[in-house]
Each structure stands twice: as C-alpha cells, then as structure tokens.
Symmetry: C2
C-alpha cells in the first residue's frame, strides 16, 4: 500500500494513496497520523491495507484527487533520522578529489550520521537557505522507515522490520561541511531540514524491484528541468537498507518510525549521471583540477523521482525550489 | 513548575510534581503527554501552572507519592536531541591527553553533535550494554527543552524559547568513539540511549541559580555510592544554553520538544571532581602517562543529582546500574 500525510498540524492527517497516484483517501478517523500507524503497525496496517485495496479497486468512497502540494512529509517529524553512505563510489570520489584513498574497512563498516528529524520539509516545499555561499546541494537517496528494532539485530533480522520506503532529498550545505567535519563531531549546520517523497510505500509495492533490501530502479533527478542523473539505486549499493538498519542498531534499540537512509545514490558508470552536485564537481576536480558546475542558486529547482517498469511514478516527486530564507 | 512522565505506553502520562519532590499528580486528562504540552505550550502551560500551585499549596486532590522508579524520561522519546560541549576544560583535557592544543576558534564556535532521540532510558533504568570492552562511561550534563525556535535566531532570542530544564546522563561507549570519529561522520555507536532526570523544571524553579541561561549549581555525581564530583554547572561554561540553542538553529528551525544539552559539566578546578570517567582518566594520562581509573563494569552504579541552596534535590536523581545486554 501507499501512504501519505495531508498537511495538517504538526503530524499531518494520514491518507491512503492509490497505486497509480491518482487518488487519495484521508483515513485519520481510522488512524490520525502515520506515526500512530507505525506505533501500532501490527493492528493498524491490515486495516489500512483494506482501505488501500478498496481504493485501488475503485470501490472506496470519499477519495480525492492526489495532489502532492497538499502533502506534508510522510512523517512531518520523526523520532530518528539516520543516514548511511551505502554507495561507495560517492565516498571514493570524495577521497579521490583530494588525492586520498578510501580506507579498506569502509567496505564492511558503513558510514552513517545522525540527522535532525524535528522539522522535515514537505515534498514540494521551498528549500529556504540564508546564504547562497553555504554551497547549496541536493542529495537523492532512498530510505526505509522501520518498526521497533531491537539492539544488536543482524541484517537478516533487520530486513523484517522495514515497514515503508521513501525517496529522500538530503539537502546539504557543502561549504559548511569541511569546517564542521574538521571539528570532529560530524555534520550539523551542513545538513539542514531534509525532504522526503510525497508517498511512502510498503516494500511489496515495488514487486521485483525490491531485492535483498535494495530498491532496484533508477533514481531520476532533474535540475532546472534538465535530467541530471538516473543511476540505479540497486547497483553499486555496498550496504543494503537492512545492513544499514543493523548498523544503526548495534548499540541501541531503534523505535517505530525510525528513518534510515541510503546515502546519495551513485553508480560507478558515470554515464548514468548523478544524484548530487558535489559528485559531478568531484569528477570535474579530478579531471580538470577544479569544479565548474556551480552549487544551487536561489530560484534553482530540483526534482527527484523513481518510476516503475511501466514508467509510472512510484513515490511521487520531490519537487523543490531554493529560496532565500527570510526570518 | 515541575513536570514528569509516568511510565505508560510510548510517550508516558504527564504528571505535575510538587516543588519538594514529595508528591505528583497525573494530569493526562488535562494534557496526555509532555510532548503535547510542549506542542501547545502557550495554552497548556498556564493550566499546568494552576495544578502546580495547588499541589504546592497542598490543595490538589489525587496526588500520589513521588517515586522516580515509576517515571519514564520526561520526554520518553523526542524529535531532536543535540548535545553541545560548552565546558571547554573538558575539551582542553581531551586534547592535552594526546599532546594537542585546542583550536582557538573553539572559544566562539561550539562543538555539537546530533544524538538519537527515539528511545531514551527512564531515569532509574539499567544501562544495558553488550560488552564491557566498549568502555562504558557516564556524562553528567544539564539540558534545555525548547519551544519552536526559528532558524537564524540569536542567543538573546533563543533564551526566550527555553521551556524546561533537565539533567542528563549522556551514556558514552568510549572505546567505540576514536574509530568512529576517525571515519569523519561523528558519533553513532559511541552514544547509545541517553537518560534524563526524573523531573523537568521551568527555569523559574531555579530562582537565583538560573543566570544568563546557565544553571548555577553544582552537579553532584556518585559512583558506586562514593562522591565522584560536584563541579558547578554555572562555572567555566563557555557557551550558555541560549548560545547552544542559537548554534543549533543556525541553518534550520528547531521544533517544540527539541532537547539541547550542555556537554559534560567540567570545572578547571580539579578539586571539584568530575562528571565523567574519561576526564579523570585524561588527568591520569597527563600526570602518569596512562589512565588508572577503569571504565564502568556490569553492576557499577552512577547517581547524578543537583541540589538547591537548602540541600533539596531539584530534578530528582538519575540513578542507573550498568548491566549486560541480553537480546
């Protein structure tokens, strides 16, 4: 099934979305919010599935036209957002651009950072940044929303706790990151509010494209209306979403509604294009000594989407414009 | 007023606690949870204050005996937990123990990391760790819970968004941290679930001990029944809680219920003792070339508390025993 949250208050109003993304049905009388559905998944999911079946069969009453602009993030706020870096091509390029090699342990020990989760951007909301000089970038990713995951679980066990999948725009302020990482405590200012796809889907909605806890479809990014990249999210993914969840749970429990991201989708085949500006800038630096593609300016627009084999959008589009922040 | 959350479900049952920590009154019929009170603070706080006044005057009906063992964390889960490092003596010692100096920019640019917030430990819960070899340590801190804080706010403005104050045990797994920080993305496994004091209090409860957004009382830590330290939380604090909130909000909004921590309370006067084992181990390393105080073992017990000028506990005690984690 496919779920979304209509913009309403702090936590949205839960809605079931039709498979074809043409209609949606508010179900807040059944369960007010997606977080509450995740909190009681074993009892609530079957009831939502019944609504989904009726909606897809055209027998549900009260459905309204699907409109991403009416939607908040599937979880407008969450209790945890942790983001891995599973596509090592991205990590290797970062290193290569500064003449360093990737440590061999990165092949079995994922990079992961803890993100802020109290104020996610709606999927079509502007990205408000105070200063273009911060180096504004998008990062297209996939992510899982988990149920309750016990500490110390292995990847095989973690796979069974994946409830929903989404796309991500992990907005990054590149020019704030080097100084921040040099301080040693990881990202903070460099990772402002994140956006997710309009719709979160259960893994079964992906059919054959859900394999070994990987989403095996191209992630299509357009920048200012031109295709920027379509790398396959199932290719060159060193760590599956299950691997990343197990990593996150090594020393603590994860609780229902925890979001675990893949990191920027990146293929070794550069002809597939890219999911962030930093990557093409690294390739330019490796090839020409310096980057030529600029970071985003106010007014620039990014669209991140994924299509099934029949060309239908699976999650709806993250569709955002960068604007100057006004206090 | 003083607020707490009785253990109940995922978010607890809100209770008002008497100033003397002798009685508490469940108020979930007025507001179910502390998060919901923070979400609607301007309307809910005055009603909670009325209950608090009645409870302190002995005119409230339905009060029960205060019992920290019945309490969850004031926020059993939160949408954000970010922890600064405001006591630079702690930072300088870390550096000195490895013959490095603290960069001068640390005097005006706070260190801060993003912590996990989906599974806080109750104040008297065991600290379950899989392996003593992880290097188990406590960190005594103070923290603020904020209301909605707009991006780009300055420290003076941030001070007005402090709703509640708590104590913290920022449990740390020291032997996992060096490898983790070397990867460059900050803490993750090294910072398992955090514990907070049984009671969260509005700043006015501190009287003269709340000065310039600092909590000016000694933070008293006992390890296995022996006093380990009582450094003053208002002394040698380079960045106030308001400074830290403004830092956290530089590139994003903070939403109601965001918790911002001070980092380990530490005074330059070592005779005051310490708020974590790492610090005495650093001093031992500086003096003798190696640490002699061990990290915590299974069965070890830590108690973190703060008293007013009359010797009364302000927040109740964080009172935890380390145990081996059983999956």
């Amino acid at each position: 099934m496919k779920l979304a949250s209509l913009r309403h208050g702090r936590d949205g109003r839960l809605a079931v979305v039709s498979r074809d993304l043409k209609t949606m049905l508010p179900v807040d009388r059944l369960c007010p919010s997606l977080q509450m559905a995740l909190d009681s998944w074993s009892t609530t999911a079957p009831r939502l599935q019944e609504v989904s079946d009726a909606l897809n069969q055209g027998t549900a009453s009260g459905a309204i036209a699907f409109d991403a602009a009416k939607l908040a993030s599937p979880l407008p706020r969450a209790y945890q957002w942790c983001d891995g870096s599973a596509y090592l091509n991205h990590v290797e390029l970062v290193r290569k651009a500064r003449n360093a090699v990737m440590p061999p342990e990165f092949l079995h020990d994922p990079l992961m950072y803890q993100g802020g989760s109290d104020d996610f951007l709606p999927p079509t909301a502007d990205i408000a940044v105070a200063d273009e000089a911060y180096g504004i970038d998008f990062e297209g990713e996939v992510a899982a929303i988990t149920g309750d995951v016990p500490m110390g679980i292995d990847a095989a066990g973690a796979a069974g706790h994946i409830r929903l999948l989404m796309l991500v725009n992990d907005v990054s302020l590149r020019n704030l990151i080097p100084g921040e990482l040099a301080k040693g405590f990881g990202f903070f200012h460099g990772k402002p509010s994140t956006a997710f796809s309009p719709v979160a889907v259960t893994p079964d909605e992906l059919g054959d494209a859900w394999k070994d806890a990987k989403v095996c479809r191209p992630l299509v990014t357009h920048l200012n209306g031109k295709q920027f990249g379509a790398p396959d999210a199932g290719t060159d993914m060193q760590f599956s979403l299950a691997d990343l969840i197990a990593h996150a749970a090594k020393t603590r429990n994860l609780r229902a509604g925890c979001i675990v991201g893949s990191g920027t989708v990146s293929n070794r085949d550069a002809s597939k294009g890219f999911s962030c500006l930093a990557e093409i800038r690294m390739i330019e630096t490796i090839e020409n000594g310096k980057p030529t593609t600029p970071f985003m300016k106010f007014g620039d627009h990014v669209r991140i989407e994924m299509f099934d084999g029949a060309g239908k959008s699976i999650f709806g589009a993250i569709d955002q414009t960068v604007v100057k922040y006004a206090a």
